[in-house]
Structure formats: C-alpha cells, structure tokens
C-alpha cells in the first residue's frame, strides 16, 4: 500500500523528480539487508518474510533470493495485505484489496519479518501488525524497509533500513521495481514552486 500511495501522486502531480537510488544501488542495499537479517536472526532460523503489497512483495522475494545465495537457506515468503485494518479507510474512496498469502507452516512461533518499500507515517505497519494477528501469534515481528523517509505518526521503527532518506512532507517518494514497473529506481518528487502544489493531505500518508 505504501508504494501505491506514494507513487500515485507522483504520476498525477506535476513536479520535479530526481533519482536518489539507481538500480545498482538497490541491488547492493537489498544484498546488505539480507546479510543483516541473517546476522540478526542467527542464519534465518524460523524466519518468515511477509511482503506488504504492492512493492513489499517483490522486495521480500529479492531478500529471500539473496539469503539463499549467501547462506543456502530457503526462507518462506508470503504477502500480507493490511488494507482492511487501516484507520484511514473513511478518508477516501474505497481501496482495492491485495493478496494475502501466508506460507505453509503459518506464522505461529516464527520470526516474521514484514517487508515494505517506504516507511512514512507508520500507519500501514500498524495495520499490518493487526492483520498479522488474525493469522497467528509470531514469536517476534520485525520490519524491513527499503526507504525510511521519516515523519512517523506512531511509535514504530524499522529493524532493517535500506536507506534513510530525509524528506519534506510535500515531497513524495516513488519506489520503482522491475517486477512491477519494468525498471528499478527510487525517486523523490518535489512539487513545483507554484502555490497549487499544496502540501500532501493526510490521505497521502503511507
């Protein structure tokens, strides 16, 4: 959800986009995060990766591939759609639902790592934690994000951060992944200096 919320305004709103991470940068970052996950979880013991749709899912698969390449461990990968647990459903039109796919073996007693592309207000993660509780009781839940852009509205932090990216609330962060967008890259889009580029409303939080 974070990615969809972050990328839609980009295509709608005119502005100046600058690339902050290239495809090679993303590859290196994902590789480093995979190592950090292995380090922190003693070789991935009991780990389940759950991507938050849309772009958290391919990221979760990429992390699993890197972990496989480094350590030869196959981590279960799934997806978790937090949409129906969001607290801002009434703030805009109805959101389409995404796929929730809990891997065989479930989440009970596991180390669940939620994977998302952008961490912003923290509300998506809060919703995802509630959604996760419907599927079982993990031993630990951790959070991995490609980009942390700040502006948290809830007491939530990530355990694995690809890139800390200070932004203004008026900017939007667009993560592009080849599985969905055809090419990799992270862009920051600033609104044009005109007064029409009003600050992003609460509906744009991810």
């Amino acid at each position: 959800m974070a990615s969809a919320a972050a990328s839609d305004p980009v295509s709608r709103r005119p502005g100046i986009a600058r690339t902050v991470l290239s495809a090679d940068d993303i590859t290196r970052i994902v590789s480093r995060m995979a190592h950090q996950i292995l380090e922190k979880t003693s070789g991935g013991a009991g780990v389940v990766l759950l991507g938050v749709p849309t772009r958290g899912v391919p990221l979760a698969h990429r992390l699993a591939q890197r972990v496989q390449a480094v350590e030869g461990v196959d981590l279960p990968v799934g997806s978790l759609d937090p949409t129906m647990y969001r607290d801002d459903l009434r703030l805009r039109g109805v959101r389409p639902l995404e796929v929730t796919e809990i891997p065989d073996g479930g989440v009970d007693g596991r180390v669940v790592i939620l994977v998302d592309d952008v961490l912003y207000s923290g509300r998506t993660v809060r919703a995802a934690l509630d959604a996760l509780a419907a599927y079982g009781r993990p031993r630990t839940v951790q959070l991995a994000v490609l980009v942390d852009r700040g502006h948290r509205e809830l007491p939530i932090r990530a355990d694995y951060v690809g890139k800390n990216m200070p932004t203004s609330r008026r900017e939007s962060v667009a993560v592009r992944l080849r599985e969905i967008d055809g090419a990799d890259g992270v862009l920051i889009v600033s609104p044009e200096a005109s007064p029409t580029g009003a600050a992003a409303g609460p509906g744009d939080r991810s």
Binding site: M84, V94, V99, A134, Y135
Partner: protein
C-alpha cells in the same frame, strides 16, 4: 462502484469483476484463524426483509458481522409494516436511525429502486419481486470462476421457472456482461414475453442442450407466485425439465450443477444429483458470504465518494 447495488443489468464489466476479485480476497479471510475484520466498525447495516428469507438474510448478516458492522434485522412481520406503514415511512425511520446500508427484499419489483431515492445510505437489492437478485448472480458467477477458472466463454444453461425467477434475470444480465453464453430452457408458459430481447438462446428441449453445457443452473418452481396453471402436472414437468440421474449423466465431465436454493428434491432436481460432486449447492452458500462481504466493503469501505 456506484452507491447502490440494485441490479446486474446496469452493472458494468469492471465493477462486476471488482466484486468477484474482492470476494476472492474475502474468501481468504475465512482461512485465517480470526475470521473477523475491523473494516466496517461503527457502520450500521439494516436488513429490511418484507419477504421471508432465511438463507439470504443470514448470509448478509454473517457478511456484515465478519466486517464488524452493526446489523439490525427488520422484518415486515411483527413490525409497524404489518400495521400499514408505507415503504417510504419505513425508509425515513431507518434514515433517522442512521443506517449506512439497507439490504432490502421486497415482493414488489422495483421497491429497492424507490428506496434508493429516499435514503442517504447505500441500498442493496436482496431480491425484488420477479425482477432481480444481484448478489445471487454474483455469487453464482463467483462459484463458476472458482470451480472452472473463468466465466468468459462458458456455456450456461438456466432451466425451469424463468418467468418468476429474479435469479434467472440477474444471471442472464451478469453472465452476458462477463462473456458467457446463456441458454434458457423452460416450458413456453414459464418464459416471459420479452425473452426474445434478452441476450440468450431459448430452447424447450433440455436433452439437446445438456451435452454442450458447462454449467446447468436449476431453478425452483415458484408455486407461491403462480396464479394460474403453467404446466399440466408436477410429474410431467419433472419428466421434461427435471434434472434426474440419467440426464445429469449426459453432461460433460467437468460440468457443474447449480441451484440457488431452496431446492425441491425430486421436482426440478433429483436428490442424487443435488448431492453429487458436480453439485455446488453448499459451496454457493459459503461463496454467498464472501460475495456479500465484497459488496458491503465496496459500498461502505471508503469515504462514500465515488473514486
């Protein structure tokens, strides 16, 4: 998605597919260990049933409760409706109580359409007279898609009392929208006059149609709506238009047998056919909850503005 769900005739292909896709996600919720979602917390759904219905009302009630909506059941019997209150006054009462959605079943065709002009909330047609029953058609299409992988290109045969059946009408429009080819089979007396304008083939010979059928949908003979003799005897009807074991054997291997319920075993469908592997009768009930969750979510899940 529009604000109301009143018929499948004016339901576009994109909206219909959105309901089916959303229902697919809702069906997955049934697999979670906690089968309740907070999505519609604080919203009120009123079940306004002027006609008896256990199956549909319960299905809507379960769907709304799984989404954490508050459900008020309002049946005509034992309410002020039996004291002569008009539909409009009832609507205003519900309005004053703050209903976000009204699920309406009425014996008069078009009643939910009228209701929709009087209330601020969303209206879902749960069957009006002999007109439409859109959520039934949506759950039928959903069942076909889950079992056979698609609706587009399927040959669907609807058999029986088409004249009085709102299920048949809703299915005809929805299936046409989704790209299935529909054949209706019935005695001439149980076909409506306007059937030639429907997007269907008409046949009077069930045996000729069955071998080319992917899905056969049996309809109940609605005695309560019959004011005249539409066929000579039940036995003759059953012989010509009932799905017995021998007839069912002429269906292709993959073909499904559907029935919206309630079934009259031995009349339009033989017990052994209704209980066979190709029968989806029980599945249709489970799928009904998923589809109604999807409809309620799509109507009430957002800010109410058309996005």
């Amino acid at each position: 998605m529009k604000r109301h769900l009143l018929s499948t005739e004016d339901l576009g292909r994109d909206d219909a597919l959105l309901v089916l896709d959303t229902a697919e996600r809702m069906a997955r919720v049934a697999e979670a260990s906690v089968r309740k979602l907070p999505t519609l917390r604080g919203r009120t759904v009123v079940n306004l049933f002027f006609e008896d219905s256990t199956r549909t009302r319960t299905s809507f009630e379960v769907a709304a409760k799984r989404l954490s909506a508050d459900v008020i059941n309002f049946s005509a019997r034992g309410s002020s409706v039996s004291k002569g209150e008009s539909l409009k006054d009832t609507a205003q009462t519900l309005e004053a109580m703050g209903a976000d959605a009204v699920v309406c079943r009425h014996s008069a065709s078009g009643a939910p359409h009228r209701l929709a002009t009087w209330v601020r909330g969303s209206v879902v047609n749960a069957g009006d007279g002999t007109h439409e029953h859109p959520t039934q058609a949506l759950l039928d299409a959903f069942t076909m898609r889950r079992r056979l992988g698609r609706v587009d290109g399927l040959a669907v045969t609807i058999v029986g009392d088409v004249l009085h059946s709102r299920v048949a009408r809703s299915n005809v429009w929805l299936l046409a929208t989704l790209g299935a080819s529909v054949t209706v089979v019935a005695p001439p007396t149980l076909l409506p006059i306007g059937v030639s304008s429907w997007p269907v083939e008409v046949s009077y010979d069930l045996d000729a149609v069955l071998p080319k059928t992917d899905v056969v949908m049996m309809l109940r003979v609605q005695r309560e709506r019959m004011s005249a003799a539409f066929f000579p005897t039940e036995r003759e009807y059953s012989r010509r238009y009932g799905l017995d074991v021998d007839r069912a054997a002429t269906l292709p291997e993959h073909a499904l047998v559907m029935h919206p319920g309630p079934m009259v075993r031995g009349m339009e469908i033989a017990s052994r056919v209704a209980d066979s592997d190709r029968s989806t009768v029980v599945e249709q009930v489970a799928n009904g909850v998923s589809v109604r969750m999807a409809v309620l979510y799509l109507l009430l899940g957002g800010s109410g503005e058309v996005s």
